[in-house]
Symmetry: C2
Subunit: 226 residues, 2 copies
DNA sequence: TATAAAGTGTGATTAATATCACATAATCTA
DNA sequence: TAGATTATGTGATATTAATCACACTTTATA
């Protein structure tokens, strides 16, 4: 559970490392590397999906239309696969992916990918392990968030971002407050109030885009209390 | 996405079918079939996990301690695997499983299981597909529930149970109201009130344990509205 | 079968947060 | 750089559902 690099965790590229150089070349030669600007849609819910997406550089959000609004399911930073469930689980994308920073994505043909799974047991096994870790992580967040109040979830999210995406307590926040609301499942206004509150209590510092966690212990306390 | 047989969907045994008779015998001979009574704990969060659990008969709940209460992550009916993520994702169980009805579970040694993945690409591939479907289903429920109010989630849950577990609109409800509260993420009292309300409006009929969906269209409407 | 334990129903109250309304600030874009 | 668009801050109000309290009912168990 240590290799994760996103909120609610996409899996890392460790599976890919089990391929030999030759095998990896086959993948490289048969896949398109595409660059996306911040804000660009990488793939869209409802569209046909025939490729596995592998994030080489950048940060993306995985999101899905809910009954009344958009829900951000996870945020994933490179390197990670992020299109496997939607490609192998269904012919039609069940969620969208959008670049939060300039990003590059390798689209691997799903038949090619399937071939490697068939032929390379170790590769398949690592994929399975990573999908499992992913699921455990979903469960963790799912169990937490349904029992916490807004300040607790926001605190948890900030800590998680610092630890799993940026590896520092000071970073440029990749989301608007509306998006953060869609991630934690609350309203934009509530986010604004919670952040103001954290800020006026000197728990965090933020000016527009940059977040600086000043009192991590208190933030953790708020997160644990709910 | 059609093969599912649980709420928020565990995967079916289709992967196992790709094994030859001989291969399947090896698994059968090296795994223990254990019977559980309603209410028995099958495995427990925090315990060491060295087996993959395959539900042969019965219904189980997968649950996890949250910060303030228990959260039911999914309900799974046979036939299905339900211990893969916790076995391959971590050495320690990240969630518990408890029998909701008398059940029988086949515990397959994880090394043996891993062996089959290594050797049988088709088996591995089907497992991957099913894990992916699982994840998409989690996403679906996750996106829905965070945006619906209690009556909407309860309506959705009842419909889902009727369709995916019992295949009929009249069934013995496998959960207490407290458990249903832990599943949908609300309080026991709210569940009681919502069910009373549905009942007095003749949308459902229920006497203790038996649920009968009388007006499915209205229930669906409530579910969609939120 | 008596007694305990677990589960359920329902009113009153409280608390959290959604919603509405609008002001202000930042940022795109022609 | 002007004007438009998008993002944010904040008060007032409404609403949903949590919590508390307790009666009642069903189910276990000695």
């Amino acid at each position: 559970m240590e290799n994760h690099n996103c909120i609610n965790c996409s899996f890392k590229s460790s599976a890919a490392k089990t391929l030999s150089k030759e095998e990896f070349k086959v993948i490289e030669n048969n896949s398109a590397l595409v660059f996306f600007k911040k804000g660009d849609i990488i793939f869209k819910q409802g569209a046909l999906s025939t490729n596995v997406a592998y994030l080489r550089t950048g940060i993306v959000k995985i999101h899905k239309r809910g009954p009344s609004r958009e829900k951000i399911l996870r945020i994933s930073k490179s390197p990670s696969y992020f299109g496997i469930p939607t490609t192998f689980g269904n012919k039609i994308n069940q969620y969208s992916a959008t670049a939060l920073e300039d990003s590059s994505v390798c689209f691997i043909d799903s038949n090619l990918f399937q071939n490697f799974i068939f032929k390379n047991g170790e590769f398949a096994y690592k994929l399975i392990v990573e999908l499992c870790e992913n699921e455990l992580n979903d469960y963790e967040r799912y169990a937490n968030q349904s029992q916490k109040q807004v300040p607790g979830i926001v605190a948890e999210t900030l800590i998680c971002m610092a630890d799993k995406i940026f590896n520092t307590d000071r970073f440029n926040f990749p989301l608007t407050q509306s998006e953060l609301a869609d991630l934690v499942g609350t309203s934009r206004e509530s986010i604004s109030r919670v952040l103001s509150d954290f800020s006026s209590n000197k728990i965090i510092e933020f000016n527009g885009k940059e977040i600086h966690i000043l009192k991590r212990d208190i933030l953790e306390q708020i997160s644990e209390k709910g």
